[in-house]
């Protein structure tokens, strides 16, 4: 079970800030494929991965990263702090 979180326009497209996902996905990319296969709103959110960033357990990571041992995955656009 994974906690999956969404921020900014990713959250808006998915329609919720977080959900618990039962998955056997090996990598972030695999998880994204599973989610996209579910519903059009996921397809809309994940249409262009180059416009997205991912954090695993609150550390910036990338889409090739393995999910083994990970508890919290977050998807969001490039950050605009400061």
């Amino acid at each position: 079970m994974l906690d999956v979180m969404y921020f900014a326009w990713v959250r808006e497209r998915i329609g919720e800030p977080r959900e618990t996902v039962a998955t056997e996905a090996a990598t972030v990319a695999d998880l994204v494929e599973e989610l996209k296969a579910r519903e059009p709103r996921y397809e809309a959110a994940f249409a262009d991965l180059s416009a997205l960033r991912v954090a695993l357990d609150q550390e910036l990571s990338d889409f090739d990263a393995p999910l083994a041992g990970v508890r919290e995955v977050a998807f969001f656009p490039p950050m605009t702090g400061g």
Binding site: F7, W9, A74, M79, T80, G81, G82
Partner: protein, 146 residues
């Protein structure tokens, strides 16, 4: 000890700067940066979203790097989230160092990293509706100088 605060409440630049500089006799240079919400094209307000937990962790990592690399005496980062009107202060950083070049460089480093590596997202509410602020290539490029 560096201080990091992530808060929705306004902060006083004057009080923070004064408190940060107070009682220092080994520090020769204090630099502060304050970010202010600009009134761009009649924007009514800005909404800042963040990722609680990761925000503090990411800022703390950036601050530790700066403390170490420039042997700072001290550092401060305050960053707001929530709804902000034009003229309100979004965030500030402060650095204290023996010498001016280190204090300046460390403050710029903190700003560059906070811009692109701390999980904040800005949404502007203007006359034509709401829009997420897009990250700028130049902000990402700015990281390469460090």
């Amino acid at each position: 000890m560096p201080m990091i605060r992530v808060q929705s409440e306004p902060f006083s630049l004057g009080d923070e700067a004064e408190a940060f500089a107070k009682g220092r006799t080994d520090t020769g240079a204090v630099v502060t940066f304050t970010g202010i919400v600009r009134d761009t094209g009649g924007m009514a307000r800005m909404e800042i979203e963040h990722y609680p937990g990761m925000t503090e962790k990411a800022i703390s990592g950036i601050v530790d790097q700066a403390m170490d690399r420039w042997s700072l005496d001290d550092a401060l980062v305050i960053h707001r989230y929530g709804s902000l009107a034009p003229g309100e202060r979004i965030m500030m950083v402060a650095t204290a160092s023996r010498h001016r070049v280190a204090a300046f460089e460390a403050a710029e480093f903190l700003m560059d990293y906070l811009k692109s590596r701390a999980p904040f997202w800005k949404k502007e509410f203007g006359p034509d509706g709401a829009e997420w602020v897009a990250a700028k290539d130049e902000d990402e490029d700015a990281l390469s100088r460090w």
